[in-house]
Each structure stands twice: as structure tokens, then as C-alpha cells.
């Protein structure tokens, strides 16, 4: 499939943390199309296993399925929905269009005409905002209940020659790269025991990856996630440019042997890459997979993404394709090369 078509399909399905079931159904169709075995573990993680030969180490490519969302706190007597917005910049919210149960709603705010001048120079507090579905209170109460997610409602679109705009590209961009890698691999059996592990609840505390570390027990795991794409001025090291390939992580989460292996495979495959230094927690599933089981050799490959956790995230399609080519090359990697990092 073309990268933008796959991204369009995957970002059109909403998957707030813990509510990944619709996306699992979509993945079932792709597993059938690609001819790979799909299992779902007790946490809800999806494991896609291509055919293998030999008995090399267990190698997992880990990408989370879930995306950030607003969460319903209560429905007021007037039928307006109060919410919390974890990990989301509240400045993005006033006027945003969201969806729940096939209905769209507007994140409403007090009009500036009716707001004292002093308050207009401050961002609106999340507590002052409510979602308006334009429905009577009794209908709103059947549409959403406390604890339900409200998803951003933005039409996915290609931007310019190489870019793609959608909500949930964190981390659907990596899910797409993993599926494209399986497609590139085709019928070829893998030397190591390769799995694509698509996790739940990363944004809510990496709970899916923690379970995966104990259940799938990968010996090597490469987290496929996104990182801060450059957009405007930033100090060197804060962001990475778009369109120049995935970023290979360096730091406490990535044993140097794994980083070296990823670099070597990128270079021999002719895939562009860049570095990303993360001294402590990488902020990806790799962190909990590394220590969550019996000790895993972990690495990270991150797709540069602009405007993370906003309704309109942007990636470069060339980075998604480069990540897919690198992951496909890693899937074909000889088992002895993997043993070097254990």
C-alpha cells in the first residue's frame, strides 16, 4: 500500500488509550492481507508474527496503538460536557471540533466580547471549557458518560509533496511503518523470531508495554514511535528535522550495541537516519520493556512529528517509508547479528 493511503485509513480510526478495539479490527484485516498470524494478548496488545526459519532470538518491533484524547468528567444540567485533557496543551482547545459516537461537538469557550480584558490575556483554563454537541441534555447523557474519550475531529490530508496531516499520527505513523515493513518482507521467513507488537495504553502510562515485556518476553525490542519534529527555531538537540529519516535513540534506554546495530543496518540498506539523544527516559514503550521483564536489549526508531498531541499532527511520508525499509531490513537480519547485542 502507499504510505499516505495506509496513514489515511489508520488515522480515520480512533483509538484512545484503553479503547483500541476498532483499531484492532482494522489490523485484523491487514494481518489477513499480509498473511501474518495475529494474536491479541490479555492486555489487548496485538502481536503480528511473520513466518520464520531457524530459532533466533525473540525480536519485537513495538509501536503503540493508542492516541491522546479528552476524557469526559461530567455532563452538566445544560447538556454541556466537562472534561480533562491529559498531556494536551490547553491553548489548543478553545474552538476545536471533537467527536464521540458519530456526533461532532465543539470545545466551547466564553466569547471574548463577554470576557473581561484582564482575562483575555491569559489562556482559557481547561476547567472553564465545555464540549457542546448541540443536543438536548438527555441525548448528550446517552451519547457520552463520565470516563468516555472525546477524539479530535480533523480530516486527514496530504500537505504539499511529502507531508501528511492528521490527528493520532502519534503513533499511527509507526504502526503504518511496521505494516509497510511486513509488506516489504513479503513471504520471506525471518531468521530471528520476529514479532510486530502493537501496544495499548502507552499514553496512559505504558501499561500495554509493561504487560508485553512479561508475556511476549522479547530479548531484543525496538520501539517505533515519534519524536519532536523541527518547526521553527529550537536549540540543537531539542528537535529533529523532517524528511531526513527516522531518529536512532542514544541514552540510558538504548544499550550502545543496539544503537550501533541500527546504524549499521541503516547504512548498509541505504536508509537515511539521524540521532536523537535521550539521557533518561526515552518516553517510549522501550523504557518499560527494557526493565519490565527479564531484561531486554532495547532501541528506539523515532519518526519526526510536528505539533505532537495537537489535533493536527504532521509527519513526512518519506520518514515513514524510510522507517519501513529499515525495519524490513532488520526483520531479515541474521540471527547472529542479534545475538551480538544480548
Amino acid at each position: 500500500m502507499r504510505a499516505h493511503e495506509l496513514l489515511h485509513e489508520l488515522t480515520s480510526v480512533k483509538a484512545a488509550s484503553g479503547r483500541e478495539e476498532a483499531l484492532r479490527a482494522t489490523l485484523r484485516r491487514h494481518a489477513d492481507r499480509l498473511g501474518v498470524a495475529m494474536t491479541v494478548d490479555r492486555a489487548g496488545n496485538v502481536v503480528l508474527a511473520p513466518r520464520r526459519r531457524g530459532s533466533g532470538p525473540r525480536v519485537a518491533f513495538v509501536a503503540h496503538l493508542d492516541q491522546v484524547a479528552l476524557w469526559v468528567k461530567e455532563v452538566t444540567d445544560a447538556g454541556l460536557v466537562r472534561f480533562v485533557a491529559p498531556a494536551i496543551d490547553p491553548r489548543l482547545l478553545p474552538g476545536l471540533v471533537v467527536e464521540a459516537g458519530g456526533h461532532i461537538g465543539v470545545v466551547g469557550f466564553r466569547p471574548p466580547h463577554l470576557t473581561p480584558e484582564a482575562e483575555r490575556s491569559k489562556p482559557a483554563a481547561v476547567e472553564s471549557l465545555t464540549v457542546d454537541f448541540g443536543l438536548p441534555p438527555e441525548r448528550v447523557r446517552t451519547l457520552v458518560r463520565p470516563g468516555d474519550p472525546l477524539a479530535f475531529h480533523v480530516a486527514p490530508a496530504r500537505l504539499g509533496a511529502h507531508r501528511f496531516l492528521a490527528s493520532g499520527l502519534d503513533n499511527r505513523a509507526s504502526v503504518a511503518a511496521a505494516l509497510l515493513a511486513l509488506e516489504l518482507l513479503g513471504d520471506e521467513p525471518t531468521p530471528a523470531e520476529v514479532a510486530v507488537a502493537l501496544t495499548v495504553e502507552e499514553e496512559a502510562g505504558r501499561h500495554g508495554a509493561a504487560y508485553l515485556a512479561r508475556d511476549l518476553r522479547p530479548e531484543v525490542a525496538v520501539a517505533l514511535d515519534v519524536t519532536f519534529g523541527r518547526a521553527g527555531p529550537a536549540a540543537p538537540g531539542e528537535t529533529v528535522p523532517l524528511g531526513t529519516g527516522p531518529a536512532i535513540g542514544l541514552g540510558a534506554n538504548i544499550p550502545s550495541g543496539v544503537a550501533k546495530l541500527l546504524r549499521e543496518v541503516a547504512e548498509t540498506t541505504g536508509v537515511p537516519y539521524q540521532w536523537e539523544v535521550m539521557p533518561g527516559d526515552s518516553g517510549t514503550d522501550a523504557w518499560v520493556v527494557q526493565h519490565g521483564g527479564e531484561g531486554t536489549a532495547t532501541g528506539t526508531l523515532s519518526i519526526p512529528l510536528r505539533y505532537m498531541h495537537s489535533a493536527g499532527e504532521v509527519v513526512d511520508l518519506r520518514d515513514v517509508e524510510a522507517t519501513a525499509r529499515l525495519v524490513a531490513a532488520l526483520m531479515r537480519l541474521d540471527e547472529d547479528r542479534w545475538r551480538e547485542v544480548l
Binding site: 490547553p90 461537538g105 472553564s128 471549557l129 438536548p136
Partner: protein, 339 residues
């Protein structure tokens, strides 16, 4: 002319062509005369040979939006509002860029992870950018030249009870004026669709002088502060509580006898109505009275106006439709009272 099509059509002040075309085509079968002027106002008339006073319905075609003012080194667009848009509602929203065959974009700001809570001031237009996927200033300039129009990219939607969409200020007025125009009338009637209301009632000033009707009824979308963070007594209007009649606003006092006639029309039509209580905002009526044309305003209460998506009640649209129809029937008699 359906509200959905008018809402999704794009036209910032001075770029109202698409809306003008939609309205002119929709009303042509009902019109005796269709005119425009050098500013771009659209005048659609019928019943023109008949005796009696001439009424003009006014609604403005323009919506608040933005123009591209520059291209940065990352290939992103600098932009400024045309008409009033609170910068607090702009960040992170999808937009359409370009005058024809628009391209998608998104208003960019730094990701939450890179800014801490206490470091988050209100963003100013100088700091906001639009990302259209260009990789250099030159590519951005080729895709979206200086002066390109930018509008919110909000699809129209409706529920059983409400409508949700962009630019209800004042496509709701355009919709209602067009609807009234298709009904049978006794005397001369003009529907006047004006330009550049949002930049200072500029089209209406010209239309008032060119047309000189005996009276005018302005149809508008107006703020309702009855929802998020509402302050009791400062709602201005309430959604679902009927047609809003202006007491006073920043640009005008409604003509007293016309205002009284609107109340009478609402009661004759047995439709809910409310006073628009508060001083803020203004309408094309402010351009009419200085030309000696008695004018009054009927407004549709809209939550979240001048923002990506407004919410209004279908019952309020219906109340205004029936109120205007009743007013049209009363109009010759009302004008004898105006004297």
C-alpha cells in the same frame, strides 16, 4: 439556499465572490433584477413595480478569517486576521488556504512537551504559523502567495436540534434573507448581500447610498454567552430561546417603531423571541441609519462565533424565518406608522 452550503463556502472581507455566486444563482429564478456594485455587494430585487414602501433585507457575505503575510525559512506561513479573531481560538486548528481550489493546512504551535504550564502565555499572531507541508520559503510562496485567503476548515453538521459550522456570522443571515426572498410578497423587496461587514460595515455604507430603501431589516448571527463558563446576566443572547431583537449595540440604536413592529410580528407569528441584552458587537444597521434609512436587526444566537465552529438552534432559525415572514406582511402598514 441551504445553510450548510453557505457555511462551507469561503469568503473573507473583500473575497466574497463564491458566496455571491451561490446566492445569485439560487435566487435568480425568483428575482426581477440582480445587480452588483464595484465593492461586490449583491442586490436581488422583486415586486419592484408594485406600489408601497420598499423594504431591504440585509445580510453580509464575508466571514472572519486570515490573509497570508509571509513565508518563513521552514516553509510555513505567517498570517494575520481579517476581521476580529481572538488569537486564543486559532492555535492547532485545521484551515483551508488559498482563494481557489484551497489546500489544507494547520495552525502550528510548539508541542506541549516542550513548554511547561507556567510558560504558556496566550500566543500572538506574530508567533503562530500555518503548516502547509512546504519545505522552503520559496515552495511555500508558490503554494500560497502573499495575500492568499485563509479560512477555518470546518465541515457543516446538524443534529436533530442544532446546526454546527463555521461562518454562521453571517451565512445564517444570508440563508434567512434568501429564504424570505423566495416567499410571495405584496410590495417591492430587495435582498442585499453585503461585503466587508467585518472590516467596518463597509459594503453596507455603499449599498445604503445606492439603494435608498424606505427601511431595512438586518439579519445577523450574534454571540450567545450562555454555554461554557457562562456568567449569569452576561449571556447577551441564549441559544434556543428564539429570535434575538437588539436593544442597542456598539453601532446603532434600532429604529424604535421598527423594533416595536418586530415584537408585534413575533407575537403575531407566535414565535419565541428574546432581547439581545448587552452593548458589544455591531451590525450593518449601523451603516444604514446615518443614511436616513430606518433599520433594525434580528439575530440568530450563536455560541462560539468568530471561531472555527459555532452552534445554533434550528428552532431559532425557524423562529426568525416566521418572524421575518410576519414582518414582511405587516411592512406597508408599519411604514404608515413610521411616517
Amino acid at each position: 439556499m441551504e445553510l450548510g452550503r453557505l457555511s462551507e463556502a469561503r469568503g473573507v472581507p473583500g473575497r466574497e465572490g463564491a458566496i455571491r455566486t451561490l446566492l445569485a444563482e439560487a435566487l435568480a429564478p425568483y428575482a426581477e433584477e440582480i445587480r452588483t456594485d464595484p465593492m461586490g455587494n449583491l442586490y436581488v430585487g422583486k415586486g419592484l413595480g408594485r406600489p408601497g414602501p420598499t423594504l431591504a433585507l440585509f445580510a453580509h457575505m464575508d466571514e472572519v478569517g486570515f490573509l497570508v503575510t509571509g513565508h518563513d525559512e521552514d516553509g510555513r506561513l505567517c498570517f494575520r486576521p481579517t476581521g476580529g479573531v481572538d488569537p486564543r481560538v486559532v492555535a492547532g486548528k485545521p484551515v483551508w488556504v488559498g482563494d481557489d481550489g484551497p489546500i489544507p493546512g494547520v495552525v502550528a504551535l510548539p508541542p506541549a512537551h516542550l513548554t511547561r504550564g507556567e510558560e504558556r502565555p496566550v500566543l500572538r499572531y506574530e508567533e503562530l504559523r500555518i503548516d502547509i507541508g512546504a519545505e522552503s520559503a520559496a515552495e511555500a510562496a508558490a503554494m500560497a502567495p502573499l495575500g492568499s485567503m485563509v479560512t477555518f476548515a470546518t465541515p457543516f453538521a446538524e443534529t436533530e436540534t442544532h446546526v454546527i459550522g463555521k461562518a454562521f456570522d453571517d451565512r445564517a443571515g444570508c440563508h434567512l434573507a434568501a429564504l424570505a426572498f423566495t416567499e410571495p410578497v405584496a410590495g417591492p423587496l430587495w435582498a442585499v448581500f453585503t461585503v466587508q461587514e467585518e472590516t467596518g460595515l463597509r459594503g453596507a455604507r455603499v449599498a445604503a447610498r445606492r439603494l435608498r430603501p424606505d427601511a431595512a431589516l438586518v439579519l445577523e448571527g450574534t454571540p450567545a454567552g450562555d454555554a461554557a463558563d457562562a456568567v449569569a446576566g452576561r449571556e447577551l443572547t441564549r441559544v434556543g430561546k428564539g429570535a434575538a431583537l437588539t436593544v442597542v449595540d456598539r453601532t446603532t440604536l434600532p429604529h424604535a417603531r421598527l423594533k416595536a413592529a418586530l415584537v408585534e410580528a413575533a407575537e403575531r407569528a407566535a414565535v419565541p423571541w428574546q432581547w439581545r441584552r448587552g452593548l458589544g458587537g455591531g451590525t450593518d444597521a449601523g451603516a444604514l441609519w446615518p443614511e436616513g434609512i430606518p433599520a433594525a436587526t434580528v439575530s440568530l444566537p450563536c455560541r462560539y462565533i468568530h471561531a472555527p465552529a459555532a452552534v445554533a438552534a434550528k428552532s431559532d432559525l425557524e423562529a426568525i424565518r416566521r418572524l421575518v415572514a410576519a414582518f414582511l406582511a405587516m411592512f406597508p402598514e408599519v411604514m404608515r406608522r413610521v411616517g
